[in-house]
């Protein structure tokens, strides 16, 4: 016991998101996963028992565990993403339980943007529905490296191998068009617990692992880029002996004491004198460490500037292409001023050109549609008021992502991935 606890802080962490259409059994699956790993506490169980009884329902409704808002419990739907935490002796997990309804897709994206793996539930009696495709596409677009399709409600088809294989084949055909290469399929019944934590004795034809086994053992490739040195300056420390110290979070690469570095946008070249964390000096810093970098020379730097290496620079540009997901109920306007945020840098921008919209069902490009509303996924080109220092999203999530903000309402209206 002592040993396993000593290493708890260093334990592997897997962040996964759960998606699926309404009534695919998503909340039941999470409830099952938590229940069978003994991650539900007695007072939580007692509280949902009480509510289930009040509603006159038999048995315990495990969905009440994650539906944290009154309206969610009253309507029996998930509106916004809820986070749940559990651990097994092998790994720590953060679940982002996201809504299945189309109109809450923006909340689904919030939960998925930081995930390593996406669980997508498919009801075997319903087959592939639009939300299956939408969620798969969004997961792949966000660069999630693993998708696990949970083929649920196998109990309703007599645990039929044929039904499973047929749906698997259809999903394979669709997912072949996605960027995510690691795609897996697990037949299960969340309601009865088959293949969630415990192996099912009703599907001996299935030779793969249970869901928990998969989650515990899947190899998590690092989300961090350790090649291209990127340090967006968050804060300039300018007092006494701390002159020329710049605080921030490493967004890529490895910075070492003595390294030659280049500052953007000035392109001035200098060297790293010292790197510090909160209470001590360190020799090197890499993503996602938060550090202060001290430079040899006295060069003017402000928040939003970037420290890089002279031979490996991001693109310095006011014009770039991005895939964006429109998140606002008010449609995208061409030639309207939006605020843009990228790393610690911000400015104003407008959408210069709408290249095409993606048809979620076929993944085809629609080039004529100019009305872009909530949950649409489009490729655009952006012109900004100030230069940004950008990488491709698939190269570095930190320096390849942007958000657009409505200058009037201050609402986040779009999330973009730089191409």
């Amino acid at each position: 016991m002592k040993n396993s606890q000593a290493s708890y802080l260093d334990m592997d962490l897997l962040r996964f998101t759960t998606a699926g259409s309404v009534d695919d059994g998503k909340s039941t699956l999470i409830g099952r996963l938590l229940y069978d790993t003994k991650s539900i506490f007695e007072d939580q169980l007692a509280s949902i028992k009480k509510v289930s009884e009040k509603k006159g329902k038999e048995g315990i409704n495990l969905a009440l565990l994650t539906d944290g808002l009154r309206e969610e419990r009253e309507q029996g739907i998930t509106i916004d993403v809820a986070y749940r935490y559990f651990a097994t002796p092998n790994r720590k997990f953060i679940i982002a339980d996201t809504p299945g309804h189309f109109e809450f897709t923006r909340n689904m994206i919030t939960g998925a943007s930081t995930a390593n793996l996406a669980l997508i539930l498919v009801d075997v009696t319903q087959g592939i529905v639009e939300q299956t495709k939408r969620h798969s596409f969004i997961a792949s677009m966000l660069g999630i490296s693993h998708i696990v399709y949970c083929i649920n409600k196998m109990d309703l088809v007599n645990y039929s191998k044929e039904k499973f294989l047929q749906l698997k084949a259809e999903l394979e055909q669709f997912s072949a068009k996605l960027n995510t290469k690691d795609v897996r399929f697990i037949p299960m019944s969340a309601l009865h617990g088959d293949n969630v934590v415990k192996r099912s004795d009703k599907m001996n034809w299935y030779e793969g692992g249970t869901l928990l086994h998969t989650l515990e053992n899947i190899h998590i490739a690092s989300d961090y880029n350790h090649i291209d040195c990127r340090f967006p300056v968050q804060y300039v420390i300018d007092s006494g002996e701390n002159r020329n110290a710049f605080a921030g979070r490493v967004a890529g690469g490895v910075f070492k004491k003595g390294d030659e570095v280049m500052l953007l946008p000035s392109r001035s070249v200098t060297r790293i004198k010292k790197i510090e964390t909160m209470d001590r000096e360190i020799q090197e810093a890499f993503s996602p460490m938060s550090v202060s970098i001290y430079l040899e020379d006295d060069i003017e730097i402000k928040r939003g500037d970037m420290i890089v290496r002279p031979n490996n620079s991001p693109k310095i540009t006011q014009d770039f292409n991005a895939m964006i997901c429109w998140l606002s109920d008010s449609p995208m306007q061409m030639n309207q001023k939006y605020l843009i945020q990228h790393t610690t840098n911000q400015g104003e921008c407008f959408v210069e050109e709408l290249k095409y919209k993606i048809d979620i069902n076929t993944l085809h490009r629609i080039e004529k549609d100019t009305l872009i509303g909530a949950n649409d996924i489009v490729r655009i080109s952006i012109h900004s008021s100030v230069p940004f220092f950008v990488d491709r999203y698939d190269r570095n999530r930190n320096t390849g992502s942007i958000i657009l903000i409505d200058a009037e309402t201050n609402i986040t209206v779009a999330a973009g991935m730089i191409l």
């Binding site: 802080l9 944290g68 916004d80 986040t412």
Partner: protein, 241 residues
């Protein structure tokens, strides 16, 4: 800033004052007693009364008085189901209200901190930490914490299944008997709504062992959460921290 209900454990206040002295920083106290005296809020009366909900007014008044852009706190998503819905940067309107059904999307580490005058943010940097993470971190960094977290002898009584500390802030019902128990606290709020747990844990290592084997949630002893199934959500909507 500390929102002080005036019903805190004396150990909490002593620890707070010592910490402020050591750090050499200025402490702003938003006092619930003052809000009551000014007639901003009305005190509950009777057995089971608490100033917990009154804190909201004192907090919002102080945020307005000092024109704070944001209030940073240690609330975590694993504490409670409404808190599980929180963003890192959580927007509050000019009345300090939370609109949980209409939160801003929050992607990657790009936090939208734009707001209008009079609005503010609640920022929760350790949103994704669990109770276990917190204790492991305290152990690793050897952080100072109030003695109330360690096992000690205390006069207690049982109310609604929760072990409560006897303090002069709490009015006892006739059938409530006071006994001496060995207890510690897992969360520390106002003395009128914070339950104690029987425990022998006197070191951080023992607390960690206890947290690892506990079958009750951290806030399981918080009577403020138990007033209804939506107690936390309702308070948060009004501006509670």
């Amino acid at each position: 800033m500390h929102v002080d209900t005036g019903h805190n454990f004396s150990e909490t206040i002593a620890f707070r004052d010592e910490l402020i002295k050591k750090r050499g920083v200025k402490l702003i106290v938003a006092s619930v007693q003052e809000s009551i005296d000014k007639g901003r809020v009305e005190e509950e009366s009777g057995i089971g009364s608490s100033r917990n909900a009154l804190q909201t007014t004192s907090l919002l008044d102080a945020i307005e008085q000092y024109q704070f852009d944001c209030a940073i706190g240690g609330a975590r998503r694993d504490e409670e189901k409404a808190r599980a819905k929180e963003r890192f940067f959580s927007h509050r309107d000019e009345k300090g209200q939370w609109d949980p059904k209409n939160q801003r999307p929050e992607l990657w580490n790009l936090f939208n901190g734009k707001k209008k005058d009079g609005e503010h943010f609640r920022v929760f940097p350790i949103s994704n930490w669990t109770e276990m993470d917190v204790w492991q971190y305290i152990l690793q960094e050897n952080l100072e914490i109030p003695k109330l977290y360690f096992s000690h002898q205390r006069e207690c009584f049982v109310r609604d299944g929760i072990l409560m500390a006897k303090t002069h802030f709490v009015q006892l019902a006739e059938n409530e008997k006071v006994t001496l128990k060995k207890v510690r606290f897992r969360t520390i709020g106002d003395a009128t709504c914070t339950g104690a747990f029987e425990s022998d844990a006197t070191t951080l290592e023992e607390i960690i062992d206890e947290v690892a084997s506990s079958r009750i949630t951290e806030r399981g002893g918080r009577s403020d959460d138990k007033r209804s199934d939506s107690a936390m959500e309702d308070r948060k909507k009004q501006g509670y921290f």
